[in-house]
Protein backbone atom coordinates (compact mmCIF):
# COMPACT_ATOMS: atom_id res chain seq x y z
CA UNK A 1 0.00 0.00 0.00
CA UNK A 2 2.95 2.27 0.17
CA UNK A 3 3.08 1.83 -3.59
CA UNK A 4 0.46 4.41 -4.38
CA UNK A 5 2.14 7.09 -2.35
CA UNK A 6 5.20 8.92 -3.63
CA UNK A 7 6.18 10.24 -0.20
CA UNK A 8 5.09 9.22 3.28
CA UNK A 9 6.32 11.14 6.33
CA UNK A 10 5.25 9.76 9.70
CA UNK A 11 5.83 11.77 12.88
CA UNK A 12 9.15 13.11 11.74
CA UNK A 13 11.13 15.08 14.31
CA UNK A 14 14.42 16.89 13.84
CA UNK A 15 16.61 18.85 16.21
CA UNK A 16 19.54 21.15 15.45
CA UNK A 17 21.39 20.74 18.73
CA UNK A 18 18.65 21.77 21.15
CA UNK A 19 16.54 23.61 18.62
CA UNK A 20 13.48 21.56 17.66
CA UNK A 21 13.13 22.38 14.00
CA UNK A 22 10.59 19.76 12.88
CA UNK A 23 7.85 18.66 15.27
CA UNK A 24 5.85 15.51 14.56
CA UNK A 25 5.58 16.27 10.88
CA UNK A 26 3.31 13.81 9.09
CA UNK A 27 2.08 13.99 5.56
CA UNK A 28 1.56 11.90 2.45
CA UNK A 29 2.03 12.86 -1.15
CA UNK A 30 0.31 10.78 -3.81
CA UNK A 31 1.72 10.25 -7.28
CA UNK A 32 1.11 13.23 -9.46
CA UNK A 33 0.10 15.39 -6.54
CA UNK A 34 1.36 18.96 -6.32
CA UNK A 35 2.00 20.30 -2.81
CA UNK A 36 2.93 23.88 -1.98
CA UNK A 37 4.44 24.58 1.43
CA UNK A 38 4.45 28.08 2.84
CA UNK A 39 5.20 29.69 6.15
CA UNK A 40 7.30 32.33 7.88
CA UNK A 41 11.09 32.12 7.80
CA UNK A 42 12.46 29.63 10.29
CA UNK A 43 9.29 27.53 10.20
CA UNK A 44 11.16 24.43 9.03
CA UNK A 45 9.68 24.22 5.54
CA UNK A 46 13.05 24.01 3.76
CA UNK A 47 14.24 21.50 6.34
CA UNK A 48 11.16 19.40 5.67
CA UNK A 49 11.80 18.96 1.99
CA UNK A 50 15.56 18.62 2.47
CA UNK A 51 14.81 15.62 4.66
CA UNK A 52 13.12 13.97 1.73
CA UNK A 53 16.33 13.58 -0.25
CA UNK A 54 18.40 13.23 2.90
CA UNK A 55 20.26 16.51 2.61
CA UNK A 56 19.17 16.68 6.23
CA UNK A 57 18.67 13.66 8.45
CA UNK A 58 15.79 13.22 10.87
CA UNK A 59 16.20 11.98 14.43
CA UNK A 60 12.81 10.30 14.89
CA UNK A 61 9.88 9.27 12.76
CA UNK A 62 9.93 7.64 9.36
CA UNK A 63 10.23 8.89 5.82
CA UNK A 64 9.44 6.57 2.92
CA UNK A 65 10.05 7.80 -0.62
CA UNK A 66 8.90 5.76 -3.60
CA UNK A 67 8.68 2.70 -1.40
CA UNK A 68 12.19 3.04 0.05
CA UNK A 69 12.66 4.03 3.66
CA UNK A 70 15.27 6.71 4.41
CA UNK A 71 17.67 5.51 7.07
CA UNK A 72 21.42 5.65 7.49
CA UNK A 73 21.70 3.06 4.73
CA UNK A 74 23.76 4.76 2.04
CA UNK A 75 22.49 2.54 -0.76
CA UNK A 76 18.88 3.43 -0.03
CA UNK A 77 19.77 7.12 0.07
CA UNK A 78 21.50 6.93 -3.32
CA UNK A 79 18.50 5.13 -4.82
CA UNK A 80 16.14 7.75 -3.46
CA UNK A 81 18.25 10.60 -4.78
CA UNK A 82 18.12 9.14 -8.27
CA UNK A 83 14.36 9.35 -8.19
CA UNK A 84 14.08 12.76 -6.56
CA UNK A 85 15.19 15.94 -8.27
CA UNK A 86 15.89 19.16 -6.39
CA UNK A 87 15.99 22.81 -7.41
CA UNK A 88 17.75 25.18 -5.01
CA UNK A 89 17.17 28.79 -4.12
CA UNK A 90 20.79 29.63 -5.04
CA UNK A 91 20.65 27.56 -8.28
CA UNK A 92 23.96 25.82 -7.38
CA UNK A 93 24.90 25.22 -11.00
CA UNK A 94 28.45 23.95 -11.42
CA UNK A 95 30.37 27.02 -12.61
CA UNK A 96 33.27 25.15 -14.16
CA UNK A 97 31.02 23.22 -16.58
CA UNK A 98 28.88 24.46 -19.45
CA UNK A 99 25.11 24.40 -19.10
CA UNK A 100 24.97 21.28 -21.26
CA UNK A 101 27.69 19.58 -19.21
CA UNK A 102 25.79 20.47 -16.03
CA UNK A 103 22.84 18.53 -17.39
CA UNK A 104 24.79 15.51 -18.64
CA UNK A 105 27.18 15.04 -15.72
CA UNK A 106 24.86 13.04 -13.46
CA UNK A 107 23.35 11.18 -16.39
CA UNK A 108 26.79 9.90 -17.35
CA UNK A 109 28.15 9.17 -13.91
CA UNK A 110 25.03 8.02 -12.07
CA UNK A 111 22.64 6.68 -14.67
CA UNK A 112 25.59 5.52 -16.79
CA UNK A 113 24.07 6.69 -20.06
CA UNK A 114 26.26 6.98 -23.14
CA UNK A 115 27.28 10.51 -24.07
CA UNK A 116 25.12 10.75 -27.20
CA UNK A 117 22.00 9.71 -25.33
CA UNK A 118 22.72 12.04 -22.43
CA UNK A 119 23.38 14.97 -24.74
CA UNK A 120 20.11 14.43 -26.60
CA UNK A 121 18.07 14.20 -23.41
CA UNK A 122 19.77 17.31 -22.09
CA UNK A 123 19.23 19.35 -25.26
CA UNK A 124 15.57 18.35 -25.36
CA UNK A 125 15.12 19.54 -21.81
CA UNK A 126 17.02 22.77 -22.40
CA UNK A 127 14.73 23.31 -25.34
CA UNK A 128 11.72 22.67 -23.15
CA UNK A 129 12.83 25.29 -20.65
CA UNK A 130 13.67 27.58 -23.58
CA UNK A 131 17.40 28.05 -23.13
CA UNK A 132 18.69 25.67 -25.80
CA UNK A 133 20.78 28.47 -27.31
CA UNK A 134 22.67 28.84 -24.00
CA UNK A 135 23.73 25.21 -23.91
CA UNK A 136 27.42 25.86 -24.50
CA UNK A 137 27.75 28.86 -22.26
CA UNK A 138 28.94 28.85 -18.68
CA UNK A 139 26.52 29.53 -15.83
CA UNK A 140 28.20 32.81 -14.96
CA UNK A 141 27.24 34.13 -18.38
CA UNK A 142 23.52 33.54 -17.88
CA UNK A 143 20.93 35.69 -16.16
CA UNK A 144 19.39 34.52 -12.90
CA UNK A 145 16.20 33.35 -14.51
CA UNK A 146 18.13 31.44 -17.16
CA UNK A 147 20.34 29.83 -14.53
CA UNK A 148 17.36 28.61 -12.52
CA UNK A 149 15.72 27.19 -15.64
CA UNK A 150 19.02 25.43 -16.41
CA UNK A 151 18.98 24.05 -12.87
CA UNK A 152 15.48 22.72 -13.45
CA UNK A 153 16.62 21.08 -16.69
CA UNK A 154 19.60 19.57 -14.86
CA UNK A 155 17.33 17.99 -12.29
CA UNK A 156 14.85 16.79 -14.94
CA UNK A 157 17.65 15.17 -16.95
CA UNK A 158 17.77 12.41 -14.36
CA UNK A 159 14.11 11.65 -15.11
CA UNK A 160 13.08 11.81 -11.49
CA UNK A 161 9.68 10.74 -10.24
CA UNK A 162 9.47 13.57 -7.73
CA UNK A 163 10.68 17.16 -7.98
CA UNK A 164 11.45 19.26 -4.92
CA UNK A 165 11.70 23.04 -5.16
CA UNK A 166 13.27 25.00 -2.29
CA UNK A 167 12.18 28.62 -2.77
CA UNK A 168 13.17 28.56 -6.44
CA UNK A 169 12.32 32.18 -7.17
CA UNK A 170 13.39 33.89 -3.95
CA UNK A 171 16.83 34.81 -5.27
CA UNK A 172 15.57 36.17 -8.57
CA UNK A 173 14.94 39.72 -9.70
CA UNK A 174 11.18 40.32 -10.02
CA UNK A 175 11.13 40.42 -13.82
CA UNK A 176 12.62 36.90 -14.03
CA UNK A 177 10.29 35.18 -11.58
CA UNK A 178 7.63 34.80 -14.22
CA UNK A 179 9.72 32.78 -16.68
CA UNK A 180 10.69 30.26 -13.99
CA UNK A 181 7.15 29.92 -12.66
CA UNK A 182 5.97 29.34 -16.21
CA UNK A 183 8.29 26.34 -16.52
CA UNK A 184 7.12 25.00 -13.17
CA UNK A 185 3.48 25.33 -14.17
CA UNK A 186 4.13 23.40 -17.40
CA UNK A 187 5.90 20.73 -15.39
CA UNK A 188 2.93 20.45 -13.06
CA UNK A 189 0.49 20.23 -15.95
CA UNK A 190 2.56 17.38 -17.39
CA UNK A 191 1.81 15.39 -14.24
CA UNK A 192 5.03 15.62 -12.21
CA UNK A 193 4.79 14.96 -8.47
CA UNK A 194 6.03 18.20 -6.93
CA UNK A 195 6.70 19.66 -3.51
CA UNK A 196 7.33 23.37 -3.72
CA UNK A 197 8.38 25.69 -0.91
CA UNK A 198 7.55 29.19 -2.06
CA UNK A 199 5.99 32.55 -1.29
CA UNK A 200 4.40 32.79 -4.73
CA UNK A 201 0.76 32.42 -3.81
CA UNK A 202 -0.40 32.91 -7.38
CA UNK A 203 1.42 29.74 -8.34
CA UNK A 204 -0.18 27.92 -5.42
CA UNK A 205 -3.65 28.98 -6.39
CA UNK A 206 -3.10 27.97 -10.00
CA UNK A 207 -1.39 24.63 -9.71
CA UNK A 208 -1.43 23.17 -6.20
CA UNK A 209 -3.59 20.25 -5.19
CA UNK A 210 -2.85 20.97 -1.55
CA UNK A 211 -1.33 23.91 0.32
CA UNK A 212 0.46 23.31 3.61
CA UNK A 213 1.18 26.03 6.15
CA UNK A 214 4.06 25.46 8.56
CA UNK A 215 4.98 27.48 11.59
CA UNK A 216 7.67 26.80 14.17
CA UNK A 217 8.33 23.33 12.88
CA UNK A 218 4.73 22.16 12.87
CA UNK A 219 2.35 21.54 10.03
CA UNK A 220 -0.43 23.85 11.13
CA UNK A 221 -2.91 23.57 8.31
CA UNK A 222 -3.31 21.77 5.03
CA UNK A 223 -6.10 22.21 2.57
CA UNK A 224 -6.87 22.48 -1.12
CA UNK A 225 -6.12 26.03 -2.32
CA UNK A 226 -9.71 27.26 -2.49
CA UNK A 227 -10.35 26.38 1.11
CA UNK A 228 -6.83 27.40 2.23
CA UNK A 229 -6.95 30.91 0.83
CA UNK A 230 -10.65 31.68 1.23
CA UNK A 231 -11.46 29.95 4.49
CA UNK A 232 -8.37 29.25 6.60
CA UNK A 233 -9.19 27.43 9.83
CA UNK A 234 -6.31 28.32 12.14
CA UNK A 235 -5.51 31.69 13.63
CA UNK A 236 -1.82 31.52 12.67
CA UNK A 237 -2.70 30.72 9.08
CA UNK A 238 -5.00 33.70 8.92
CA UNK A 239 -2.29 35.93 10.35
CA UNK A 240 0.33 34.71 7.88
CA UNK A 241 -1.99 35.06 4.91
CA UNK A 242 -2.92 38.59 5.84
CA UNK A 243 0.74 39.54 6.09
CA UNK A 244 1.83 37.95 2.86
CA UNK A 245 -1.12 38.88 0.74
CA UNK A 246 -1.41 42.47 1.88
CA UNK A 247 1.57 43.52 -0.14
CA UNK A 248 0.28 42.14 -3.41
Amino acid sequence: MSGQYAIIMDNVNKWYGRFHVLRDASLTVARGERIVICGPSGSGKSTLIRCINRLEDHQSGRIIVEGRELTRNVRAIDEVRREVGMVFQQFNLFPHLTVLQNCTLAQTWVRKRPKAVADKIAMDLLDRVRIADQAHKYPGQLSGGQQQRAAIARALAMEPKIMLFDEPTSALDPEMIGEVLEVMVELAEDGMTMMVVTHEMGFARKVADCVIFMDQGEIVERAPPERFFNNPQHERTKQFLSQILSGH
Binding site: N53, L55, V74, D78, R81, R82, V84, G85, M86, F88, Q90, N92, L93, F94, P95, H96, L105, A106, W109, V110, Y138, P139, G140, Q141, A151, R154, A155, M158
Partner: protein, 374 residues
Amino acid sequence: MAKRASAHRGPPDRPWGPLILDWLRDNLFSSVTNTLLTIAAIAFIYVVVPPIVNWTIVDAVWSGTGRADCIGEGKGACWPFISARSDQLIYGQYAAAERYRVDIVYLLGAIGLAWILIPRLPGKFWAGLGMATVFPVVAYLLLSGGVFDLPVVPTERWGGLLLTLLISVVGIATSFPIGVLLALGRRSNMPIVSLLCTCFIEFVRGVPLITLLFMAANVVPLFMPQGVSLDKLLRALIVISLFSAAYMAEVIRGGLQALPRGQSEAAAALGLGYWKTTFLIVLPQAIKISLPSIVSSCISLLKDTSLIATIGFFDFLQIIKAGNSDPAWSAPNVAITGYLFAALVYWTLCFGMSRYSAYLEDTVAGGKVGAGKL
Protein backbone atom coordinates in the same frame (compact mmCIF):
# COMPACT_ATOMS: atom_id res chain seq x y z
CA MET B 1 19.90 70.70 -38.92
CA ALA B 2 21.94 72.53 -36.30
CA LYS B 3 23.11 70.40 -33.42
CA ARG B 4 22.10 71.35 -29.93
CA ALA B 5 24.86 73.27 -28.26
CA SER B 6 25.08 70.89 -25.31
CA ALA B 7 25.62 67.71 -27.35
CA HIS B 8 29.02 66.14 -27.90
CA ARG B 9 31.41 68.49 -26.16
CA GLY B 10 34.77 67.21 -25.07
CA PRO B 11 36.26 67.87 -21.64
CA PRO B 12 37.86 71.28 -21.10
CA ASP B 13 41.53 71.62 -22.08
CA ARG B 14 44.02 70.89 -19.33
CA PRO B 15 46.15 73.98 -18.69
CA TRP B 16 49.51 72.19 -18.64
CA GLY B 17 49.63 70.69 -22.07
CA PRO B 18 50.18 67.13 -23.37
CA LEU B 19 49.26 63.96 -21.55
CA ILE B 20 52.67 62.92 -20.30
CA LEU B 21 53.12 66.06 -18.30
CA ASP B 22 49.73 65.44 -16.70
CA TRP B 23 50.77 61.96 -15.76
CA LEU B 24 54.06 63.12 -14.27
CA ARG B 25 52.28 65.76 -12.31
CA ASP B 26 49.66 63.44 -10.89
CA ASN B 27 51.88 60.51 -10.09
CA LEU B 28 55.19 61.96 -9.10
CA PHE B 29 54.85 65.56 -8.11
CA SER B 30 51.33 65.93 -6.80
CA SER B 31 52.35 67.23 -3.42
CA VAL B 32 55.42 68.38 -1.54
CA THR B 33 55.90 65.00 0.14
CA ASN B 34 55.49 63.24 -3.15
CA THR B 35 58.02 65.47 -4.83
CA LEU B 36 60.54 64.86 -2.09
CA LEU B 37 59.92 61.12 -2.31
CA THR B 38 60.41 61.20 -6.07
CA ILE B 39 63.69 63.06 -5.71
CA ALA B 40 64.86 60.62 -3.05
CA ALA B 41 63.88 57.67 -5.23
CA ILE B 42 65.68 59.03 -8.28
CA ALA B 43 68.76 59.72 -6.16
CA PHE B 44 68.68 56.18 -4.81
CA ILE B 45 68.42 54.71 -8.29
CA TYR B 46 71.25 56.90 -9.51
CA VAL B 47 73.51 55.75 -6.72
CA VAL B 48 72.71 52.06 -6.93
CA VAL B 49 71.98 51.11 -10.53
CA PRO B 50 74.88 52.45 -12.62
CA PRO B 51 77.58 50.80 -10.45
CA ILE B 52 75.78 47.49 -10.73
CA VAL B 53 75.45 47.79 -14.50
CA ASN B 54 79.10 48.76 -14.69
CA TRP B 55 80.24 45.85 -12.66
CA THR B 56 78.17 43.20 -14.36
CA ILE B 57 78.38 44.31 -17.97
CA VAL B 58 80.64 47.22 -18.78
CA ASP B 59 83.71 46.32 -16.75
CA ALA B 60 83.08 42.61 -16.81
CA VAL B 61 85.52 40.10 -18.16
CA TRP B 62 83.91 38.09 -20.93
CA SER B 63 86.55 35.61 -21.91
CA GLY B 64 89.49 33.99 -20.27
CA THR B 65 90.84 30.76 -18.86
CA GLY B 66 91.87 31.36 -15.30
CA ARG B 67 92.19 33.70 -12.40
CA ALA B 68 94.82 35.75 -14.15
CA ASP B 69 92.21 37.06 -16.53
CA CYS B 70 89.91 38.14 -13.74
CA ILE B 71 92.28 39.62 -11.22
CA GLY B 72 93.05 43.28 -11.35
CA GLU B 73 91.83 46.76 -10.76
CA GLY B 74 88.63 47.83 -12.38
CA LYS B 75 87.65 44.33 -13.45
CA GLY B 76 84.02 43.54 -12.89
CA ALA B 77 82.19 40.26 -13.08
CA CYS B 78 84.18 37.25 -14.16
CA TRP B 79 81.88 35.48 -16.60
CA PRO B 80 84.37 32.95 -17.97
CA PHE B 81 84.25 31.35 -14.54
CA ILE B 82 80.64 30.41 -15.22
CA SER B 83 81.24 29.00 -18.65
CA ALA B 84 84.26 27.05 -17.40
CA ARG B 85 82.11 25.36 -14.82
CA SER B 86 78.99 25.09 -16.92
CA ASP B 87 79.34 21.35 -17.31
CA GLN B 88 79.33 20.85 -13.60
CA LEU B 89 76.53 23.32 -13.17
CA ILE B 90 74.28 21.40 -15.49
CA TYR B 91 75.34 17.81 -14.88
CA GLY B 92 76.97 17.83 -11.46
CA GLN B 93 79.70 15.26 -11.23
CA TYR B 94 77.91 12.90 -13.56
CA ALA B 95 80.34 10.81 -15.60
CA ALA B 96 81.05 12.70 -18.80
CA ALA B 97 80.48 9.79 -21.13
CA GLU B 98 77.05 9.11 -19.69
CA ARG B 99 75.69 12.62 -19.90
CA TYR B 100 73.36 11.74 -22.73
CA ARG B 101 71.24 9.97 -20.14
CA VAL B 102 70.82 13.23 -18.27
CA ASP B 103 69.85 14.91 -21.52
CA ILE B 104 67.16 12.29 -22.11
CA VAL B 105 65.77 12.85 -18.64
CA TYR B 106 65.75 16.62 -19.20
CA LEU B 107 63.85 16.08 -22.45
CA LEU B 108 61.28 13.75 -20.89
CA GLY B 109 60.77 16.14 -18.03
CA ALA B 110 60.31 19.08 -20.36
CA ILE B 111 57.71 17.21 -22.43
CA GLY B 112 55.78 16.15 -19.34
CA LEU B 113 55.86 19.66 -17.91
CA ALA B 114 54.81 21.26 -21.17
CA TRP B 115 51.86 18.88 -21.32
CA ILE B 116 50.70 19.90 -17.88
CA LEU B 117 51.39 23.59 -18.18
CA ILE B 118 49.96 24.50 -21.57
CA PRO B 119 46.24 24.94 -20.84
CA ARG B 120 44.85 23.86 -24.17
CA LEU B 121 46.34 20.39 -24.22
CA PRO B 122 43.93 17.72 -22.98
CA GLY B 123 44.54 14.79 -20.69
CA LYS B 124 46.05 16.84 -17.89
CA PHE B 125 45.08 14.35 -15.24
CA TRP B 126 47.01 11.56 -16.96
CA ALA B 127 49.98 13.83 -17.62
CA GLY B 128 50.05 14.75 -13.94
CA LEU B 129 49.72 11.14 -12.88
CA GLY B 130 52.52 10.21 -15.25
CA MET B 131 54.82 12.88 -13.90
CA ALA B 132 54.10 11.76 -10.35
CA THR B 133 54.57 8.06 -10.89
CA VAL B 134 56.15 7.04 -14.21
CA PHE B 135 58.63 9.87 -14.65
CA PRO B 136 60.43 9.46 -11.29
CA VAL B 137 60.87 5.74 -11.89
CA VAL B 138 62.11 6.19 -15.46
CA ALA B 139 64.39 9.03 -14.45
CA TYR B 140 65.81 7.01 -11.60
CA LEU B 141 66.46 3.98 -13.77
CA LEU B 142 68.05 6.02 -16.52
CA LEU B 143 70.20 8.10 -14.26
CA SER B 144 71.44 5.53 -11.83
CA GLY B 145 71.85 2.77 -14.36
CA GLY B 146 72.28 -0.89 -13.54
CA VAL B 147 69.58 -1.83 -16.05
CA PHE B 148 69.81 -2.33 -19.82
CA ASP B 149 73.59 -2.60 -19.49
CA LEU B 150 73.87 1.04 -18.47
CA PRO B 151 76.84 1.65 -16.19
CA VAL B 152 75.91 2.58 -12.65
CA VAL B 153 76.23 6.19 -11.57
CA PRO B 154 75.65 6.54 -7.80
CA THR B 155 73.34 9.28 -6.61
CA GLU B 156 76.20 11.04 -4.84
CA ARG B 157 77.50 12.12 -8.23
CA TRP B 158 74.24 13.65 -9.34
CA GLY B 159 74.41 17.36 -8.87
CA GLY B 160 74.00 20.85 -10.24
CA LEU B 161 70.92 21.87 -12.15
CA LEU B 162 70.11 18.21 -12.75
CA LEU B 163 69.65 17.60 -9.06
CA THR B 164 67.87 20.87 -8.38
CA LEU B 165 65.37 20.44 -11.20
CA LEU B 166 64.89 16.73 -10.61
CA ILE B 167 64.02 17.23 -6.96
CA SER B 168 61.79 20.20 -7.75
CA VAL B 169 59.82 18.49 -10.50
CA VAL B 170 59.44 15.14 -8.76
CA GLY B 171 58.76 16.90 -5.47
CA ILE B 172 56.02 19.07 -6.91
CA ALA B 173 54.45 16.24 -8.89
CA THR B 174 54.26 13.94 -5.88
CA SER B 175 53.43 16.50 -3.21
CA PHE B 176 50.33 17.69 -5.02
CA PRO B 177 48.29 14.46 -4.92
CA ILE B 178 49.50 13.72 -1.40
CA GLY B 179 48.48 17.22 -0.36
CA VAL B 180 45.01 16.75 -1.86
CA LEU B 181 44.52 13.51 0.06
CA LEU B 182 45.76 15.09 3.28
CA ALA B 183 43.40 18.05 2.86
CA LEU B 184 40.43 15.77 2.22
CA GLY B 185 41.49 13.59 5.13
CA ARG B 186 41.73 16.52 7.50
CA ARG B 187 38.19 17.56 6.62
CA SER B 188 36.89 14.03 6.87
CA ASN B 189 34.03 13.10 9.16
CA MET B 190 35.93 10.10 10.45
CA PRO B 191 37.66 11.29 13.62
CA ILE B 192 40.69 9.03 13.44
CA VAL B 193 41.47 9.89 9.83
CA SER B 194 41.01 13.59 10.56
CA LEU B 195 43.18 13.39 13.65
CA LEU B 196 46.00 11.54 11.90
CA CYS B 197 46.03 13.97 8.98
CA THR B 198 45.93 17.00 11.28
CA CYS B 199 48.76 15.67 13.44
CA PHE B 200 50.89 14.92 10.42
CA ILE B 201 50.31 18.34 8.87
CA GLU B 202 50.93 20.24 12.09
CA PHE B 203 54.07 18.26 12.89
CA VAL B 204 55.60 18.78 9.45
CA ARG B 205 54.71 22.47 9.39
CA GLY B 206 56.04 23.09 12.87
CA VAL B 207 59.57 21.89 12.18
CA PRO B 208 62.25 23.44 9.93
CA LEU B 209 63.07 21.54 6.76
CA ILE B 210 66.70 21.25 7.80
CA THR B 211 65.70 19.21 10.84
CA LEU B 212 63.62 16.89 8.68
CA LEU B 213 66.52 16.48 6.24
CA PHE B 214 68.86 15.64 9.11
CA MET B 215 66.33 13.08 10.22
CA ALA B 216 66.22 11.63 6.72
CA ALA B 217 69.97 11.38 6.65
CA ASN B 218 70.62 10.09 10.17
CA VAL B 219 67.53 8.66 11.72
CA VAL B 220 65.44 7.07 8.97
CA PRO B 221 68.03 4.34 8.26
CA LEU B 222 67.50 3.17 11.84
CA PHE B 223 63.83 2.57 11.21
CA MET B 224 64.38 0.34 8.24
CA PRO B 225 64.51 -3.42 8.68
CA GLN B 226 67.95 -4.93 8.82
CA GLY B 227 69.60 -5.19 5.44
CA VAL B 228 67.22 -2.81 3.73
CA SER B 229 68.74 0.50 2.88
CA LEU B 230 67.15 3.34 1.04
CA ASP B 231 69.29 5.60 -1.07
CA LYS B 232 70.02 8.90 0.70
CA LEU B 233 68.73 10.96 -2.19
CA LEU B 234 65.51 8.97 -2.22
CA ARG B 235 65.07 9.59 1.49
CA ALA B 236 65.69 13.31 1.00
CA LEU B 237 63.23 13.37 -1.88
CA ILE B 238 60.53 11.66 0.17
CA VAL B 239 61.05 14.09 3.02
CA ILE B 240 60.94 17.13 0.76
CA SER B 241 57.82 15.80 -0.93
CA LEU B 242 56.02 15.17 2.36
CA PHE B 243 57.14 18.57 3.63
CA SER B 244 55.69 20.34 0.64
CA ALA B 245 52.57 18.16 0.73
CA ALA B 246 51.73 19.42 4.22
CA TYR B 247 51.85 23.05 3.09
CA MET B 248 49.96 22.18 -0.09
CA ALA B 249 47.31 20.48 2.04
CA GLU B 250 46.68 23.65 4.01
CA VAL B 251 46.43 25.69 0.84
CA ILE B 252 43.94 23.27 -0.72
CA ARG B 253 41.99 23.10 2.51
CA GLY B 254 41.53 26.87 2.24
CA GLY B 255 40.14 26.39 -1.25
CA LEU B 256 37.81 23.64 -0.04
CA GLN B 257 36.52 25.88 2.72
CA ALA B 258 35.92 28.75 0.35
CA LEU B 259 33.65 26.69 -1.86
CA PRO B 260 29.94 27.32 -1.15
CA ARG B 261 28.22 24.37 0.46
CA GLY B 262 25.49 24.47 -2.16
CA GLN B 263 27.86 22.91 -4.69
CA SER B 264 28.24 19.63 -2.84
CA GLU B 265 24.55 19.71 -1.93
CA ALA B 266 23.54 20.04 -5.56
CA ALA B 267 25.85 17.19 -6.49
CA ALA B 268 24.44 15.05 -3.69
CA ALA B 269 20.90 15.85 -4.77
CA LEU B 270 21.76 14.58 -8.23
CA GLY B 271 22.80 11.27 -6.72
CA LEU B 272 26.58 11.67 -6.99
CA GLY B 273 28.32 9.91 -4.10
CA TYR B 274 31.17 11.28 -2.00
CA TRP B 275 34.06 10.40 -4.28
CA LYS B 276 32.34 11.47 -7.50
CA THR B 277 31.26 14.75 -5.92
CA THR B 278 34.76 15.36 -4.65
CA PHE B 279 36.60 14.66 -7.86
CA LEU B 280 34.12 16.05 -10.39
CA ILE B 281 32.72 19.08 -8.60
CA VAL B 282 34.48 20.06 -5.39
CA LEU B 283 38.17 19.56 -6.15
CA PRO B 284 38.26 21.23 -9.58
CA GLN B 285 36.72 24.35 -8.12
CA ALA B 286 38.73 24.32 -4.91
CA ILE B 287 41.97 23.99 -6.85
CA LYS B 288 41.05 26.87 -9.13
CA ILE B 289 40.35 29.04 -6.11
CA SER B 290 43.65 28.23 -4.46
CA LEU B 291 45.76 28.15 -7.63
CA PRO B 292 47.93 31.19 -6.81
CA SER B 293 48.80 29.75 -3.42
CA ILE B 294 49.53 26.35 -4.94
CA VAL B 295 52.01 27.87 -7.37
CA SER B 296 53.51 29.84 -4.49
CA SER B 297 54.02 26.56 -2.67
CA CYS B 298 55.76 25.14 -5.73
CA ILE B 299 58.08 28.15 -5.93
CA SER B 300 58.98 27.61 -2.27
CA LEU B 301 59.83 24.00 -3.02
CA LEU B 302 62.19 25.05 -5.76
CA LYS B 303 63.96 27.38 -3.38
CA ASP B 304 64.04 24.78 -0.62
CA THR B 305 65.93 22.31 -2.79
CA SER B 306 69.02 24.37 -1.98
CA LEU B 307 68.89 22.90 1.51
CA ILE B 308 69.95 19.43 0.46
CA ALA B 309 73.46 20.84 0.50
CA THR B 310 73.31 20.53 4.28
CA ILE B 311 73.18 16.76 4.05
CA GLY B 312 75.97 16.46 1.58
CA PHE B 313 74.47 16.86 -1.86
CA PHE B 314 75.83 19.13 -4.53
CA ASP B 315 72.84 20.95 -5.85
CA PHE B 316 73.15 23.94 -8.16
CA LEU B 317 73.91 26.46 -5.43
CA GLN B 318 76.37 24.21 -3.70
CA ILE B 319 78.36 23.67 -6.89
CA ILE B 320 78.67 27.40 -7.32
CA LYS B 321 79.77 27.72 -3.73
CA ALA B 322 82.28 24.92 -4.19
CA GLY B 323 83.63 26.69 -7.21
CA ASN B 324 84.65 29.60 -5.02
CA SER B 325 87.38 27.47 -3.50
CA ASP B 326 88.76 26.34 -6.84
CA PRO B 327 92.35 27.68 -6.85
CA ALA B 328 92.33 28.11 -10.62
CA TRP B 329 89.72 30.80 -10.26
CA SER B 330 90.43 32.32 -6.91
CA ALA B 331 89.67 36.04 -7.04
CA PRO B 332 87.29 38.22 -5.04
CA ASN B 333 85.05 39.10 -7.97
CA VAL B 334 84.74 35.44 -8.95
CA ALA B 335 82.75 34.49 -5.89
CA ILE B 336 80.36 37.38 -6.32
CA THR B 337 79.95 36.53 -9.99
CA GLY B 338 79.05 33.01 -9.01
CA TYR B 339 76.36 34.06 -6.57
CA LEU B 340 75.05 36.63 -8.98
CA PHE B 341 74.66 33.99 -11.65
CA ALA B 342 72.95 31.66 -9.20
CA ALA B 343 70.56 34.43 -8.19
CA LEU B 344 69.81 35.07 -11.85
CA VAL B 345 69.00 31.43 -12.54
CA TYR B 346 66.78 31.00 -9.47
CA TRP B 347 65.13 34.32 -10.09
CA THR B 348 64.31 33.42 -13.68
CA LEU B 349 62.80 30.09 -12.68
CA CYS B 350 60.79 31.45 -9.76
CA PHE B 351 59.66 34.62 -11.44
CA GLY B 352 58.69 32.57 -14.49
CA MET B 353 56.53 30.38 -12.27
CA SER B 354 54.78 33.33 -10.70
CA ARG B 355 54.14 34.91 -14.10
CA TYR B 356 52.67 31.60 -15.19
CA SER B 357 50.43 31.65 -12.16
CA ALA B 358 49.19 35.13 -13.07
CA TYR B 359 48.55 33.94 -16.61
CA LEU B 360 46.58 30.97 -15.28
CA GLU B 361 44.49 33.21 -13.07
CA ASP B 362 43.52 35.36 -16.00
CA THR B 363 42.75 32.67 -18.52
CA VAL B 364 41.84 29.37 -16.95
CA ALA B 365 40.64 30.20 -13.47
CA GLY B 366 39.01 33.49 -14.34
CA GLY B 367 37.59 32.57 -17.69
CA LYS B 368 35.99 29.20 -17.14
CA VAL B 369 34.55 29.93 -13.76
CA GLY B 370 32.32 32.44 -15.41
CA ALA B 371 31.78 36.12 -15.85
CA GLY B 372 30.43 36.52 -12.36
CA LYS B 373 31.84 35.49 -9.06
CA LEU B 374 31.72 31.87 -7.92
